[in-house]
Symmetry: C2
Subunit: 222 residues, 2 copies
């Protein structure tokens, strides 16, 4: 993905000081986002679907049920745009105009194809599980053939992409900065709480310990 | 917004057990989301723009710079779809197939109009500031006429909407639940940290206290 750059669809036209085009920044935002929004036109209206994603090099995978209208449309239309947005807090200026939220976002566009080869399908579907909690796919019951067939799996080749990063103190002009108005950043982050075990089936006894994947996930979050 | 309901664009077809159509649930998700994604077609590609929003009854307001291509497209197309998604954590099943994230999302669709009347524009633009931190608009320097003119302000009448809520323990079938595989929920939430004051202008001395709006915001977050 080192050749990645913006194109007609993703070049940042407003606030170019927020734009980032380097692959490291773009990939880090894609990989840090727990979900994305895929846009496509359904029944004549452009809509955005929140869904999980998995990046493998310059390919972004998204999936949904076989009958999902929006991913079907993204396939039919031959290309799709995807947005990831991470919320980092609130940037308060001396003016409402310069105030905003802190965020990191990526917009990418590329051609779509349905992933149909069973081996690639299994590898990527297990990859989705591990993208949420690394190592989890080896702890769960193996995928059935029926489950493998029920999922619509779409690969998007990242043809162009750009990032926007809004962070740090607001850039108020000198007249505003001289005002006796407090300005600053309220940082925000996502934190995970203690896992809540299901209480059905074999777990009704409460005897199963929290598995290694979840323990590692929570340790890495601290 | 009590008459709100789904329509052709927003009825939930898959996983109807996650669907919510009552106005209270839909409004609560819209109002709790710090930002949304507006979808529109730009240069022939449906794309989703992350942006702030403000709800007033059954009207959703979004704004951007006058030259923003996506909001211009939403106006030209006469209607727009907006998605809000709140990330609530991770739901781990005994199978990868039933595992997912916990989230609350809303999809809404409605006709767009540009807000041009100066009094409505000022009221709504100040409302955006207060939607992020309640009470903040009265602490900042008043909006200038130039700032009021620079913003493209779009009102979307919420003609139809639906919510999806994915929460709680996974609903594994009895065979899976009997397996010796841990299942459960890792809850996630957004937390705010200590505000970081700007150090420019009048604040270089560090003499300005954190204002009431920010103090209240952080107290309400605890």
């Amino acid at each position: 993905m080192t050749t990645l750059g913006p194109g007609d669809h993703t070049r940042v036209r407003r606030l170019p000081e927020k734009a980032r085009y380097d692959a490291d920044t773009i990939e880090a935002i894609i990989d840090a986002a727990p979900f994305c929004h895929v846009a496509a036109t359904v029944n004549g209206v452009a809509m955005a679907l929140p869904t999980l994603h998995l990046r493998d090099g310059d390919t972004l995978y998204v999936h949904a049920n076989k009958s999902n209208a929006l991913l079907r449309a993204a396939l039919d239309q031959g290309e799709a745009a995807v947005t990831m947005t991470l919320y980092d807090g609130i940037r308060l200026a001396r003016s409402g105009f310069e105030s905003s939220i802190a965020y990191r976002s990526v917009m990418l566009v590329g051609p779509t194809r349905e992933v149909v080869e069973p081996e690639e399908r299994r590898r990527i579907l297990n990859g989705f599980v591990d993208a949420v909690v690394p190592g989890r796919s080896s702890e769960v019951r193996p995928m059935t053939e029926r489950e493998e067939r029920l999922t619509l799996l779409v690969a998007i080749t990242i043809r162009e992409a750009s990032a926007k990063v809004s962070a740090g103190p607001t850039d108020d002009d000198a007249d505003d900065a001289a005002l006796p108005v407090w300005a600053g950043v309220i940082p925000a982050r996502t934190v995970y709480g203690e896992p809540v075990a299901n209480t059905d089936g074999a777990m009704a006894s409460g005897a199963l310990p929290v598995p290694p994947s979840v323990q590692r996930f929570l340790e890495n979050d601290e």
